[in-house]
């Protein structure tokens, strides 16, 4: 590669040209994908290993089987006797990336959250999630099984696990609880409102002056979304109408991605890695595109101009599919990227305990590497937090852009 001289185009252009020659994504994104794939591979290998261990126990020799039954017998008594359970990495990871009734703070301390149920048979039910005692107890006919609220057979008794689930009554439950993710959403919305009200006030108070304080943090990002996202994807004429949505989407995703990286209380929820959240965001984009689509846009979907009839027979269904698949991919991409980030960090931490079970020394030894890798991955996730917010906003803007695009006059 030649040495850059003054007046040469910026380095990014070099990457662009190189990428273009090879037909690849931009430099940064390919490295990011490579690392992510590698880490996911490592993570899945290690998860596979723990599963294989269980299989080995189950289908082992007679001696081993006898041993397992004994082990099972001890776990059965573990509820009372506090016999040490085997560390289950898969369960730990899935619990952490999922939603919960109650927010685990540290040790055995959990922040109880309100459980709000609308039962079509019994009406509105509101009580604290601490009543469930982490899934060990039932309350008022409800219990937690695999983090889901279910109705149990004996409605009056406050029993203990294992529960007999009443399938019919469970179907009557609409769970609208303030869960971990909902609380996390409230917190991030409060933070966003505080930041933007402060900044908005600063703009009116210090009109015409240089920006100060929080303004310095927010202004470059807003300008970035305006110039690099909205203007470049929608066009100079029409971008203003969509700026409120694009900015909201960007800052919402960005802040929640960052909060997901904070390992303790106000952070740590996997909000942007929750498919329900990304579904709603993609749905909003889809609605905006569909409502604002002009004649040109619909014309290109249903009857692509300049295409022979027999090709149209295939192309029109494909275009209609594409209309739905584009937001669908938007939903999957954000969900998968953020969830993968959480899984990677948790896998590295789980390694410590998996090795720690064999011997303390092995656990400590692995801990050093785990920590180093986690720090490295977290640095990368900081980048991903921004890139994913950018990609979601940019692709949304691009779909909107294609919907409001004016036909070109030749």
């Amino acid at each position: 590669m030649k040495i850059l001289q003054q007046g040469d185009p910026p380095l990014a252009y070099e990457f662009y040209l190189r990428g273009r020659k090879q037909g690849y994504n931009p430099y940064v994104m390919s490295i990011q994908n490579l690392l992510r794939t590698a880490s996911l591979l490592i993570g899945s290998l290690f998860l596979g290993a723990t599963n294989a261990q269980h299989d080995g126990h189950d289908h082992g020799t007679a001696e081993a089987t006898a041993h397992t039954t004994e082990a099972h017998a001890t776990t059965a008594h573990a509820e009372e006797g506090h016999v040490k359970e085997r560390f289950n990495a898969g369960k730990l990871i899935m619990d952490h990336i999922g939603d919960e009734h109650g927010w685990h703070l540290f040790g055995h301390t959990t922040l109880p959250l309100p459980v709000i149920l609308y039962d079509t048979q019994r009406g509105l039910q509101v009580f604290s999630s601490s009543r469930f005692d982490h899934g060990h107890a039932s309350y008022n006919g409800y219990a937690l099984v695999d983090h889901e609220v279910v109705a149990v057979a004996d409605a009056k008794a406050n029993g203990h696990a294992p529960f007999t689930v009443d399938e019919v009554a469970t179907k009557a439950i609409w769970d609208i609880s303030i869960t971990k993710n909902v609380l996390s959403l409230f917190i991030s919305l409060t933070v966003l409102v505080i930041i933007f009200l402060t900044v908005a006030k600063a703009y009116t108070r210090r009109a015409g002056q240089a920006p100060a304080g929080l303004q310095n943090l927010v202004e470059p990002i807003i300008l970035f979304v305006r110039d690099d996202v909205a203007k470049s994807a929608i066009g100079e004429k029409k971008y203003m109408k969509y700026m409120p949505y694009l900015l909201t989407a960007f800052f919402f995703i960005f802040l929640n991605n960052l909060m997901g990286l904070v390992p303790f209380f106000p952070g740590g929820a996997n909000l942007t890695g929750n498919i329900a959240v990304t579904l709603v965001m993609a749905l909003i984009t889809f609605i905006i595109v569909t409502v604002n689509g002009n004649k040109h846009y619909w014309g290109h979907i249903f009857a692509m101009p300049g295409v022979p009839g027999w090709v149209l027979a295939i192309l029109t269904p494909v275009e209609i599919l594409g209309m739905f698949l584009k937001p669908f991919v938007l939903m999957i991409r954000l969900f998968a990227n953020i969830t993968a980030g959480h899984i990677i960090a948790l896998s590295f931490f789980s390694l410590i305990f998996v090795f720690g079970e064999t011997s303390t020394g092995a656990g400590l030894g692995v801990g050093v590497f785990s920590l180093a890798f986690t720090i490295f991955m977290t640095m990368l996730e900081l980048l991903v937090a921004f890139i994913q917010a950018y990609v979601f906003t940019f692709l949304s803007a691009m779909y909107i852009g294609s919907a409001v695009e004016e036909p070109h006059h030749h």
């Binding site: 185009p9 594409g322 991919v329 940019f394 070109h408």
Partner: protein, 78 residues
């Protein structure tokens, strides 16, 4: 490479963004093929022929459709 700085910067911007435009292309193509396959499978189940003609025909059409979609999406914009 001797274009003026401003012109190049504009190119960089659109070039970089055009890559982003293609990030969802693979998944969309897979999606198209899958939807066509399942549509064929579903139709075959309903009709109940011994030989799954529609699954084969529609999955091939899905592949053709995804290729068409690829050409259309990557065609230079006027």
């Amino acid at each position: 490479m001797n274009t003026n700085q401003k012109g190049t910067a504009g190119k960089v911007r659109s070039g970089y963004n055009s890559y982003l435009r293609f990030t969802g292309l693979g998944f969309t193509m897979i999606g198209i093929i899958l939807v066509f396959c399942f549509a064929g499978y579903w139709l075959d189940e309903r009709i109940g022929w011994d030989y799954p003609v529609l699954t084969i025909v529609l999955s091939l059409l899905g592949i053709a459709g995804s290729m068409l979609y690829l050409f259309k999406e990557t065609a230079p914009r006027k």
